[in-house]
Amino acid sequence: MRRYSKTLVFFLSLWPIYVISYQIIFNQLGPEPVDRIINHFGEWTLIFILLTLSMTPLKQITKSVEWIKFRRMLGLFTFFYASIHMLSYVGLDYRFDIEPLINDVLKKKFIFIGFSAWLLLIPLAVTSSEKMVRLLKQNWKKIHRLIYIIGIFGVLHYIWLSKTIFFKPLIFLIILIILLLFRIKITRSASKI
C-alpha cells in the first residue's frame, strides 16, 4: 500500500480538475462561468498551499517522515493550480488584453499581491527537483522558505477581494496562522537542541 501512496495522492490532487470538467461538460458552471472557473482554481491553490504547509507539522505530530515525500508533489500542484487560476484570469476574463491587465496589476492591491505570489512560486517550482536540492545545498532551504510569504500573500489576496469580511477567507487565514505558528515552535525547539 505504501508503495502506491504517492500515486494515490497524485490522482486525489487532480480532484479540482475532475470537478471543473464535470461542471463544464454538464453545464453546471452557473450564470457567471468565468468567475466560477477563476474562483475555483484560486480556492484550490490556497488549499494546496495549506496542504503543502501541513506536511512538516504532520511529520512532527505523527513522528513519521512519510508525509515529507508528498510535500514536493503538493507544492507543484500549488504552482499548477495557481498558474491555471492566473491564466484563466488573464486569458478567459481579460482575453490577453494587456493594457487593462497591467493597469489592474499596478492599481489593484489584491491583484498585485496575487500576481506577486504567483511570481514567487516560479523559483520554487524551478528548483523543486532532486538535482536542484543537491546543487543548491543550504540555499535550497532558504529559497523554499518563500512559501511562507506566498501563503500570506495568497490569503491576503483572498481577503482583499472580498466585499466584506466573509467566512471562507477567515478560515483560510486561521489555518495559515496555525501552520505558521508551528514553524516558530519548530525552529525554537530546534534551536534549544
Binding site: I24, L29, G30, P31, E32, P33, V34, D35, I37, L92, D93, Y94, R95, P100, N103, D104, K107, K108, K109, F110, I111, W160, L161, K163, T164, I165, F166, F167
Partner: protein
C-alpha cells in the same frame, strides 16, 4: 435600449421568441454569425440588450439578508412571508402615511420596464421589471421645506432572514437618494419581473430600482421611506466609506478602490464571451446626467 414598454404581461418564452425574431429580422443572419466571434462582439450592442433569463435573474442574487453567497437568496427566501406588508412614508412630511401592499397595488398600475442592472462587482443583467415611478408614490405626501433626501429602510426580521443574524452589514439595510434623484421618472418602485409577482429573492414584495446606479443602491423589501434633511448614511457607506459612496452612479472612469469598473461581464453569456465596456450612468446618461451637472463625480462617487 428600450427603457420601458407599456405592453401587456408577456410570458418569458414569448419574450425570448420576440428577441430572436427581432434579431433575425433586424440584424440578419450575417450579424448573427459574426456575433459568435468573440472579438467582434464588443462592437455589437445587440448582445448587451438581450434579456437575462428568468432563471439567472432569480437564482443569482446579492441579498445578504438571506446569506452572502449568490445562490443563498434563492435557497433561503422561499418561505419568507410578505403578507401582511405595510410601507410607511414619514419623516419631513406634513402628514405621514402608511400604505398596505394591497393599497399600493390598487393605487398604482405596474408597467413593464426593461432596465440594465450593473452590479458594483462587475457583472450585469437586463431585467424586465414590473413597476411604476417612485415619484408617483412620493406624491402621496407633502414634504416640508426641510426635506432634502430620501432614506429607504428594508425589513429587519432575523427570525426569517438568516443573514441578519450576522453583523455582515448594519441591519436593517439602509439606502438613500437625493430628492431629485428619487423623483426622476427612471427611479422605479418594483413589484414584479417577467410579468410575474416579484420573487422573494429579488426583494418582494416591493423594492426600489435605480437603473443608473450600482445594484446595491436599489434596496429590497422596503418597509419605510423617510424624507430627511441630511444625507443618509447607507449600510454600505457604514461598512466601507472609502469604497462605497452615497451616489454610487455607474461610472467606468471611477474605479472601485480594489477593482476596475471599466468593463463588465454579462450574466448568462457563457465562458467564451468577452467583457463589455461599462457605460457612463449605465447607458442612461441622456436621462440623468443633468442631475449631476457641475459635480465632480470622482469626489462624489
Amino acid at each position: 435600449m428600450i427603457k420601458f414598454k407599456n405592453s401587456e404581461i408577456t410570458p418569458e418564452n414569448i419574450y425570448k421568441k420576440r428577441r430572436s425574431f427581432i434579431k433575425s429580422v433586424g440584424l440578419g443572419a450575417s450579424t448573427l454569425a459574426m456575433s459568435s466571434i468573440p472579438f467582434l462582439n464588443k462592437s455589437l450592442a445587440s448582445e448587451r440588450d438581450k434579456l437575462t433569463s428568468y432563471k439567472d435573474i432569480t437564482t443569482y442574487n446579492n441579498y445578504y439578508e438571506f446569506g452572502t453567497s449568490k445562490s443563498d437568496p434563492y435557497r433561503n427566501s422561499q418561505i419568507f412571508k410578505t403578507t401582511p406588508w405595510d410601507i410607511a412614508i414619514e419623516g419631513e412630511v406634513e402628514k405621514p402615511i402608511k400604505l398596505s401592499m394591497e393599497e399600493i397595488s390598487e393605487m398604482f398600475i405596474s408597467e413593464e420596464r426593461i432596465y440594465r442592472l450593473r452590479c458594483v462587482e462587475g457583472w450585469s443583467m437586463v431585467i424586465p421589471w414590473m413597476g411604476f415611478s417612485l415619484s408617483k408614490l412620493l406624491s402621496k405626501v407633502n414634504p416640508t421645506n426641510k426635506a432634502k433626501f430620501i432614506e429607504f429602510e428594508s425589513v429587519y426580521d432575523p427570525a426569517q432572514m438568516k443573514g441578519q443574524r450576522y453583523p455582515v452589514l448594519n441591519w436593517p439595510y439602509n439606502e438613500g437618494l437625493r430628492i431629485d434623484e428619487a423623483m426622476h421618472p427612471l427611479t422605479t418602485v418594483v413589484t414584479g419581473l417577467y410579468g410575474k409577482k416579484l420573487p422573494n429573492q429579488n426583494g418582494a414584495p416591493l423594492r426600489i430600482f435605480i437603473p443608473w446606479k450600482y445594484g446595491f443602491k436599489s434596496a429590497k423589501a422596503i418597509v419605510k421611506i423617510k424624507f430627511v434633511e441630511n444625507m443618509p448614511t447607507s449600510s454600505w457607506m457604514w461598512a466601507s466609506p472609502r469604497e462605497y459612496g452615497f451616489y454610487s452612479n455607474v461610472n467606468p472612469n471611477v474605479d472601485h478602490p480594489r477593482w476596475s469598473q471599466a468593463t463588465e461581464r454579462i450574466i448568462g453569456e457563457g465562458v467564451w464571451a468577452p467583457r463589455v465596456k461599462t457605460l457612463m450612468f449605465n447607458g442612461y446618461g441622456d436621462e440623468v446626467a443633468s442631475l449631476y451637472s457641475g459635480m465632480d463625480l470622482k469626489k462624489n462617487f
